[in-house]
Symmetry: C2
Subunit: 114 residues, 2 copies
Amino acid sequence: MAQTNPPFMSGVPELLVLRLLARQEMYGYEIVRAVRLVTGEAITLGEGVIYPVLHGLERSGAVRAKRKAVNGRTRVYYSLTTKGRLRFDRLTNEWDRISGGIHSALGDREHANA
Amino acid sequence: MAQTNPPFMSGVPELLVLRLLARQEMYGYEIVRAVRLVTGEAITLGEGVIYPVLHGLERSGAVRAKRKAVNGRTRVYYSLTTKGRLRFDRLTNEWDRISGGIHSALGDREHANA
DNA sequence: TGACATGCCTCGAACCACAAAGTACGCTGA
DNA sequence: TCAGCGTACTTTGTGGTTCGAGGCATGTCA
């Protein structure tokens, strides 16, 4: 049912969340919409994906949570810690390595029609 | 132990196998070494990854297997079917979409240091 | 005889992305 | 007053997938 493990998406939610939080602190619902924006509509992540990622990152000390009351509503703002910054750098390198490798492999696509 | 679900690797083995077989027929062990080569050492896939992928692709009709005796050893050569060709095209589009989205999101990395 | 490369295969574990649904609040309009 | 909608956070269950380790067999070379 849940079309799980779609191709090429492992690790991507975490990378995108870290990327957004590297720029500025944000809250979950905001991140959900921001992901669509910054990826040019190419990637959409539901709340069921974002919140667990956020909680996992907080548990591992990569982000810090701060509750704020806005319009009588409570929002949980997340910001990157030094540890999160490191994790983001490491993940980015990893992404560059993998996507670079695949780019090489896909290479000259016109020659693929053997 | 088995460091499963490494970031950014879901769907990648299948894509690479299809890519190699789109060029020419190959056997499992050969594919293992070829992956290292065509990705510029960026990606290494063990036999424990390649063989299950091959079997899955065969089961779904994307590749055809042909046994050949070479030097008294039996090799199983795999070649792409029309169905496999379609699957490869679809996966490639998917890869372009996702990697493009991430590229946009990562965008100007110097501005990431908020 | 032993060691090593080739070649195919299986197994179990852990991880994690996802959809769906549930809770709750505040605003607006009828 | 009540319905409906957008915001905001959360939990649950599922299942697909990669991965390391290792088993088995053959051929070659020393």
